[in-house]
């Protein structure tokens, strides 16, 4: 277990370094800079101010110097200061991480709570109308663009039914969370339903299920003691991958629902060419992915003895 964690740590460090370098190089070759984005507003910012700003932010230093400075700071845990807000990126992120994390958790919760039972029932009743309905639902969920689904949900639940607030973070309560979480969770839910169905069918065909049947147990016991856990092991990776990529995948949804998460910070910062903030946001997204997948690996250690002893 310690070995696993150490390996993951090394892997994370490498990944982060590559990503950071990539972003840094990419953003230095793309057209547009932070200061030009400042002038994009319809009010004219004077050239004098722009030049002073470039000096102050060190934007006139050569690229290798800026990169070296950034990496040195990063190694000491300093994410730098945002060009736009002049605040430490870590400060900016800290609030947003929580918002994004909350959204991701709610979305995966929705996806798991709907997708798993749906796939399970579809598999158990393979070929029945329930199966057909569930899978039609799932394939539709996979086919609908997130932002489109979000708009439709907004229209329905907020405007027509007045059940939920349309967008925003509110005071952090549940009501603001529901719509974006469902919107974000639709695709993973559909995917999970399909994966679960396949996993359950695969498990149902496994030899050990036949063995279990030959023992003479009830279907209920068969399902709970033998089928569910083994099928879940097959689905766990998918859950992990979906959950892990949710912070990045929520970019569009966050934008739509004005959700103050890492994703919307990323989009805005890309537009502003606010490199430290972009780096910070991507860092969080990547680290979250790696963290979740490490947790999934650890979870496998717990649920799957085959991995525990290897």
């Amino acid at each position: 277990m310690l070995q696993l964690l150490l390996r993951r740590l090394a892997q994370a460090a490498l990944t982060v370094f590559i990503v950071i370098s990539l972003v840094f190089v990419l953003f230095s070759v793309i057209p547009g800079t932070f200061t030009s984005s400042l002038q994009a507003d319809k009010r004219d910012v004077s050239q004098d101010v722009i030049e002073r700003l470039e000096d102050e932010l060190g934007l006139n230093d050569p690229l290798p110097v800026r990169f070296a400075n950034y990496v040195t700071d990063l190694a000491q845990g300093d994410l730098g200061v945002s060009y736009a807000t002049r605040r430490p990126v870590s400060d900016m992120l800290s609030g947003r991480i929580w918002a994004s994390f909350k959204l991701a958790c709610a979305a995966i919760f929705f996806a798991v709570c709907v997708g798993l039972p749906l796939g399970f029932i579809a598999a158990i009743r393979q070929g029945s109308w329930i199966d057909t309905a569930a899978m039609t639902f799932a394939v539709s969920g996979l086919s609908i663009p997130g932002f489109w689904a979000g708009l439709l949900l907004m229209y329905l639940f907020s405007l027509k039914l007045h059940l939920l607030p349309t967008f925003g973070y509110g005071s952090g309560g549940l009501s603001h969370l529901i719509l974006p979480a469902i919107t974000l969770g639709i695709a993973p839910m559909a995917l999970l339903a399909r994966t679960t169905r396949a996993a359950v069918l695969e498990t149902l065909n496994a030899d050990f299920i036949r063995t279990a049947r030959s023992k003479g147990m009830s279907e209920r016991r068969l399902v709970t003691r033998h089928l569910a856990r083994n099928a879940f092991v097959l689905v766990l990776t998918t859950i992990g991958l979906q959950f892990g990529s949710m912070l990045g995948g929520s970019v569009v949804i966050e934008k739509l629902f004005a959700w103050p998460g890492v994703g919307s910070l990323l989009i805005d910062s890309v537009g502003l060419r606010d490199i430290p903030a972009v780096q910070g946001a991507i860092l969080v997204i990547v680290l979250f992915f790696l963290l979740i997948n490490t947790l999934v690996d650890l979870a496998y250690l717990v649920v799957d003895p085959r991995i525990r002893y290897n």
Binding site: D44, A84, L159, A258, P260
Partner: protein
């Protein structure tokens, strides 16, 4: 000449009144803005104001000195105050923190006396020291605050900025509440000192370390919470210097640039006021209930297609005029912009003091356009690439123009880029034509400097070079007689209109939608989203009560 202005004497009506209706709107031929029937009732206190910061999905900075974004300024008004403030009722700048302003004989020195009951949110009284400290901060060597251009006209500001002086010569403290500012030349200090970029801030809070996440000012509300990218809120400041204000107990701004979401939220009753996009505007005007709460504002921004005059054939005035004749702006404004714009008849917009209500617009006259092109030797037409951003007022307008230009033989192809890239391309002279909205107020002379050949490219983007025009501006600036000055300004604006270094499109019509329970929302022509929040009040029907 000494002018004494007591700002408290000017009645601060909640909505913009006849001021714009009189001249500007009559000229454009559109109905005057619809406003809610006068609120005869006494303002009620209490409730939570739910407003919007509608131009971006996040605030850039909570330090008002550090940002020049409309988005941030809409919010600043709740927490910070400056020496002056824009008064929508009189459509001019009036003193705010300053109780009295005196102008010296030579017209270059202004002596201020602050109200004696202004306090920062931390409880300390605002003194002349705070003003001097705030301005000194903005001008401190090595800084890059947005307000530098506003203050750099103060005597000694440049020296201080460059590190050649220990203090700013033109800034003098007289007593605890009095100070004077001396400028290099003739200026109207109100135009320079009313923006949030010159807010008066408490030194101890700014230096305290967490000012960027916990701002302190002397505005009507005390900062409470900021959830980045989502909302910012404040609570009523009990020691606010204006008696009885603010009316609301709390304030909250929703931060987003998604108009469709704002629209949905407003209809769901989650916002007290919002800014509308074109589509929503159509819908709201058609709706008998929603239309009652609409406030239409001619903002001081001029939308245009800029042309790089150094690139042929744009150097030829006939070509530029041809483009202005060739396009049916009425239909673009009506159909594409849903009448959410006022047709431009000059660089200076309707609310500007320099606006000339008698000037006639370029008519839609393709024959004339063709004739002008023939004259210019371009009977076969020409092609050009227009740099645009992906928005209705930019790419959308270009697409709508394309058939008209094609009709006179001109082929326009869009090059879609991000806003920042567009600015780089313009400033470097790479772009041949571009779509943009320029701030054209409130100071008309400053607005017309956009065509001053002595200005850098980042200001004079068309690279317009016309010494006669430059001279007109200088003359206007040196003229103290207001009427004469106004005449000169209008003449200069007319000259630009005739020379057509841009395709004149429209002046932005900003539309605020307010809920029936909201009262006292004004129409700020400098920026519709900047609402004088201390005057807004909610009646008993407000859901947030």
């Amino acid at each position: 000449m000494t002018r004494k202005i007591d700002p408290m004497l000017i009645s601060r009506r909640r909505i913009l009144t006849a001021m714009l209706a009189s001249t500007a709107l009559a000229a454009t031929g559109f109905a005057p803005m619809v406003a809610r029937a006068q609120d005869s009732a006494e303002p009620q206190t209490g409730g939570k104001l739910r407003l919007v910061a509608p131009y971006g999905s996040a605030l850039q900075s909570l330090d008002p000195h550090a940002t020049y974004e409309s988005q941030d300024m809409a919010v600043s008004k709740a927490f910070h105050r400056s020496l002056y403030v824009w008064d929508s009722a009189s459509n001019s700048v009036v003193p705010d923190l300053a109780a009295e302003v005196e102008q010296s004989e030579d017209g270059k020195t202004f002596t201020y006396r602050l109200h004696d009951n202004i306090y920062f949110h931390n409880g300390r009284q605002v003194t002349a020291d705070d003003v001097i400290w705030s301005f000194t901060r903005i001008l401190s060597p090595g800084s890059s605050f947005s307000g530098i251009p506003n203050l750099s006209g103060i005597v000694g500001a440049r020296d201080f900025l460059d590190g050649n002086a220990d203090q700013i010569e033109g800034l003098k403290q007289i007593d605890d509440l009095s100070f004077s500012i001396t400028f290099d030349g003739f200026v109207e200090p109100g135009y320079l000192l009313f923006d949030a970029v010159t807010s008066i801030l408490p030194k101890e809070a700014v230096d305290g370390g967490d000012f960027l996440s916990n701002p302190v000012g002397c505005g009507p509300f005390v900062f409470a919470e900021h959830i980045e990218g989502s909302r910012i809120s404040g609570t009523k400041f009990d020691k606010y210097y204006k008696q009885g204000k603010p009316y609301a107990d709390e304030i909250e701004f929703t931060i987003t640039d998604d108009y469709s979401a704002l629209d949905l939220a407003f209809r769901a009753g989650e916002l007290d006021a919002t800014v509308l996009g074109e589509s929503a505007y159509v819908l709201y005007t058609q709706d008998p209930e929603l239309s009652k709460g609409l406030i239409e504002i001619a903002e001081m921004f001029t939308r245009h297609m800029g042309m790089n005059l150094e690139v042929e054939p744009f150097g030829d005035v006939r070509v530029r005029q041809a483009i202005n004749y060739a396009i049916d702006r009425d239909i673009i404004i009506e159909k594409l912009l849903k009448n959410k714009a006022f047709k431009a008849v000059g660089w200076l917009p309707t609310p500007s003091s320099g606006f000339d209500p008698d000037r006639a617009p370029y008519p839609f006259d393709p024959e004339k356009a063709k004739a002008l092109l023939d004259e210019a030797g371009l009977s076969d037409g020409f092609e050009f690439e227009a740099w645009v951003t992906d928005s209705t007022s930019s790419l959308g307008v270009l697409q709508a123009m394309t058939p008209y230009l094609a009709a006179v033989g001109i082929t326009a192809t869009p090059k879609v880029v991000e806003a920042g890239v567009l600015v780089d391309a313009i400033n470097s002279g790479e772009a041949t034509a571009w779509f943009r909205s320029n701030g054209t107020g409130p100071d008309p002379i400053s607005a017309l400097r956009s065509f001053d050949s002595r200005q850098p490219r980042s200001k004079n983007r068309a690279a317009y070079n016309d010494p006669a025009f430059d001279a007109m501006l200088d003359e206007a600036l040196g003229t103290t007689d207001p009427d004469k000055r106004l005449a000169l300004i209008r003449q200069a604006d007319g000259h630009i209109f005739e020379q057509a270094p841009v395709w004149f499109h429209n002046y932005n019509k900003a539309v605020l939608a307010t809920q029936p329970w909201v009262h006292g929302v004004d129409g700020n022509v400098t920026e519709a989203a900047i609402i004088e929040v201390d005057s807004v009040w909610l009646d008993e029907n407000a859901p947030s009560r």
